[in-house]
Homo-oligomer: 255 residues x 2
């Protein structure tokens, strides 16, 4: 698709702002994007005008309030978030102590957590966090999505991430990978242990949109420790998560 080159360059500035480097000077932006100082000022000025950036300490720019405002709009309008909110809460309540509920969404061959809920969070490190893009290949919340991708998309992913797929033991060639995803797809909901965070156990089920395309996943994270001696609880959690996934899929079809 044809784009507007100038606007594109201006917007590309936004991508510089990350959690690792959330503050930029105009000079640094200009240096990074090979812009003259005056042009860098014009570009940054546009984003400041839109509220996407704000000047903090003089010369230092950070993400602005428009982001917070847009986030609120996104939260309120996104059908997945809306339909899943109540189900996610109920899932966490029924799952017992020490669990975190996650609602994730597929976006450009990545996974983004769009909602999280917890009553008494476990004392473990969790990578999934609202607004943080995650790889599609590791962790149950991701894999629940990955293995349900349409063949065409799966293939594109495989070609892109061949090494990562092999490293995760999901197959050295396309045929093996296809077989492995088929196997995992059948064993839903998915469980993963320590793939993203040591000591964390994830249980996730896929969520599908109206057209039966995979949309995202819903699931729980808890300390692996907590269920080591308790395989029965894991079975219960799998059941709860599985029906939560179906409930969300169902809710997305009806209203």
């Amino acid at each position: 698709m044809k784009k507007v080159a100038t606007a594109d360059r201006v917007l590309s500035i936004l991508r510089l702002f990350t959690t690792e480097r959330p503050e930029w000077t105009v000079d640094d932006v200009g240096a990074e994007l090979r812009l003259s100082a005056s042009t860098a000022y014009e570009y940054v000025g546009c984003l400041v005008g839109a509220g996407l950036l704000v000047a903090g300490r003089t010369g230092h720019y950070t993400v602005g309030p428009a982001a917070i405002e847009l986030d609120r709009i996104a939260r309120r309008v996104d059908p997945l978030t809306r339909n899943a909110r109540a189900i996610l809460r109920k899932l966490v309540e029924e799952s017992g102590a020490g669990t975190i509920g996650l609602l994730c969404r597929l976006y450009r061959l990545q996974v983004m957590c769009v909602d999280e809920y917890s009553i008494n969070p476990p004392a473990i490190q969790t990578s999934y966090e609202r607004g943080r893009p995650m790889p599609l290949i590791r962790g149950s919340a991701s894999k629940a999505i990955l293995v349900n991708l349409p063949a065409r998309t799966l293939r594109r992913f495989f070609d892109l991430e061949r090494e990562a797929v092999a490293a995760m033991g999901l197959g050295r060639d396309w045929e093996a990978f296809k077989a492995e995803t088929r196997r995992l797809r059948r064993s839903a909901p998915l469980i993963s242990i320590g793939e993203l965070d040591a000591g964390a156990l994830g249980v996730s089920a896929p969520v599908f949109g109206e057209n039966d395309l995979i949309l995202g996943s819903i699931g729980l994270v808890l300390a692996a420790e907590a269920v080591r001696e308790d395989p029965a609880r894991v079975e219960i959690l799998k059941m709860l998560v599985g029906s939560a996934g179906q409930a969300v899929t169902c809710a997305l079809r009806s209203p």
Copy 2:
């Protein structure tokens, strides 16, 4: 400041997306902004490329995941949010049942709630909500900021909102308004009842940045009902909120 006209027009599209109207077709965008169809597609394409918009139902665009991602970055980097988080939680815990804690920030003569926290929320309607811009003139969270604006800014606000100021009984001319704000500034923390939501009572204290400029406010909202017969509790809440405000101001200076 000079801007890039094209990029500015592209970014102006974002402003069309509101909670009232969170979904737009390319045609409607084009009609609203007087753009040809092809140009509208180019513009929208830029924003889609940046992840700020996504196509949902075909032809219908909504706010995209980049907004969620940027929101996370904003939350993690904003010194106000970071320094106030723990204080806000403690404030709510100590304030007893049925309160909502709010952290608000001044932005372009408006007020935006940037964090909220509650243990057992009261069953009242509250307008302040994370990410929602609010007027600077109504509600304790806003007024706590308003009355602490530097004279120059206050004047600008008065000239802009002369009618609203008069309607709120804050003075019919600049001198009266100045006197009234001085009076309110001295009686911090501020209390308001039902200014934004009928039946809601707000208590808020100002928060200042390193340079002693007003940055925002911290406070509580609860059902007016809950303290009607209990003036002593109101006094306690004022004290708690007041010290929370000072604590945040202090925290912002030190680290």
